[in-house]
């Protein structure tokens, strides 16, 4: 079986992959990144969303071999030195998690959004999440949480007035 070097959350992993293995499968089953959820496996639900070189992709449709040489970020890679990412904090604060299965994918889509657009409108947020399905229907709280995270980041950067 060919070996591939994958860079996940800043760390290098050497892993054996089949040509048809998806990144979702390799992350979950071979590298233990169970924070990457697998659900529809057809690219529709977004629960397996990870960042590849900063862009949101569905890892269920991505051949693992195609991730060679790229920077992969999963939800587990968001926390820094034991401190949750502001998006994670705000999701908790806003009760934006019910069963939690969609949460890692939502987080990654939200991270990609805020990295490219630090001051998104509600419409921007909803569009950025249009590839992530929540079956507990908690969208409203999720959108509010992301807006709150954007605001908090703005305050931290000094681009947003302190409340």
């Amino acid at each position: 079986m060919p070996r591939v070097t994958l860079r996940v959350n800043g760390a290098i992993h050497e892993v054996e992959v089949e040509p048809h293995d998806t990144l979702a499968r390799v992350l979950r089953e071979k590298l233990g990144f169970t924070d990457v959820k697998a659900s529809c496996e057809k690219g529709e639900c977004g629960s397996c969303t990870v960042l590849m070189d900063g862009k949101a992709v569905v890892s269920c449709l991505l051949l693992a071999v195609k991730a060679y040489g790229r920077e992969i970020t999963t939800a587990r890679g968001l926390a820094r030195e034991g401190k949750l990412h502001i998006l994670q904090e705000k999701l908790i604060e806003h009760d934006a998690i019910q069963c939690g299965y969609c949460t890692p994918g939502m987080l990654m889509s939200a991270k990609a959004l805020l990295d490219g657009n630090p001051n998104p409108s509600e419409d921007d947020i909803r569009r950025a999440l249009s590839g992530n399905i929540c079956r507990c229907t908690g969208y409203q709280q999720i959108v509010e949480a992301i807006a709150a995270a954007a605001k908090a980041q703005g305050i931290a950067r000094g681009t947003e007035p302190k409340p």
Partner: protein, 291 residues
């Protein structure tokens, strides 16, 4: 001869760095070898007959450039890049960006490519109607070299294109258009975003003077086995002076000319009605820009 396994389990993956190498691999492995770009179709279909995957994203075909009025787009350019391209903004080609912005989800747009949207075409291929009315040319390369196919001759049936074995699509070419040209793209799905089209329409109208139509192209997706132009509707309009009655007649003709089916997203009858409404709406929008 081996029998294909029932599972999608290709045993080889290649990522060539030149078009010649890619074509050579496809030629060597024959029908069991498939090109893969973003993978958003290949990895959903998971066709068990695929034994060899030839990744075409390492061929240097991701670019959007303009030269002497022509815009050339590499086939491996992602839909997200097409959606965001400043070169496509402003002019008549903005409808290609618009279609790209409305294709699938953000994740799919980051992965899927323009070439992948056109090859093995879905009847609902979002980028097809804009390219049909922009009169795009397609460069394809095979073992015997390069040839160019007008986009109208590229779509052959459901999931069928004009590529021959071991040929790959390399570039999409958008020709310059006359000064008084307006274009529009309208897509309707069941929901606002992240859905396949029930009907999508693109139109391109060039005016001769204030209201006489020099040239018009109207194309639709999701209303026939493959994205298609409605030639009789166009003929009704070419050379005529624009009136409200003319636009209604053209839209009605378009709705009679299409071959819609009923499926999970809509009935054939609804598609005809929607076609009439959307063609008229798109023509008005394009005429506003042209005039």
């Amino acid at each position: 001869m081996s029998i294909a396994p029932a599972q999608f389990q290709p045993s080889e993956y290649f990522k060539p760095t030149t078009v010649e190498e890619a074509v050579g691999l496809l030629n060597r492995y024959g029908a069991s070898a498939w090109p893969i770009a973003g993978g958003t179709d290949v990895m959903v279909e998971k066709n068990p007959s695929i034994r060899v995957l030839v990744d075409v994203t390492g061929l240097g075909l991701d670019y959007i450039v303009s030269h002497e009025g022509w815009i050339t787009i590499g086939a491996a350019t992602t839909i997200a890049e097409v959606a965001a391209s400043p070169l496509l903004r402003g002019g008549p080609c903005h409808i290609l960006s618009k279609a790209a912005q409305e294709l699938g989800t953000p994740q799919i747009r980051n992965m899927a490519t323009l070439g992948g949207n056109l090859c093995r075409p879905s009847p609902a291929a979002d980028c097809a109607p804009p390219l049909l009315v922009l009169d795009a040319g397609l460069n394809v390369v095979g073992v015997t070299g390069q040839r160019q196919i007008g986009i109208e001759h590229f779509f052959k049936g459901v999931n069928q294109d004009a590529l021959q074995q071991a040929e790959i699509l390399t570039e999409v070419l958008l020709p310059p258009l006359p000064p008084r040209t307006g274009t529009a793209f309208v897509k309707k799905g069941r929901v606002a975003v992240a859905d396949l089209a029930i009907v999508s329409v693109a139109v391109c109208v060039a005016l001769k003077d204030k209201s006489a139509v020099e040239e018009v192209r109207i194309a639709l997706a999701s209303v026939a086995p493959f994205p298609t132009r409605v030639r009789k509707a166009e003929d009704l309009m070419r050379g005529k002076t624009v009136t409200r009655d003319l636009l209604s007649a053209v839209a009605r003709q378009a709705s009679e000319e299409i071959r819609p089916i009923s499926d999970i997203r809509a009935s054939a009858e609804y598609r005809r009605t929607l076609c009439r409404v959307l063609v008229e709406q798109a023509l008005e929008e394009a005429l506003d820009q042209a005039g």
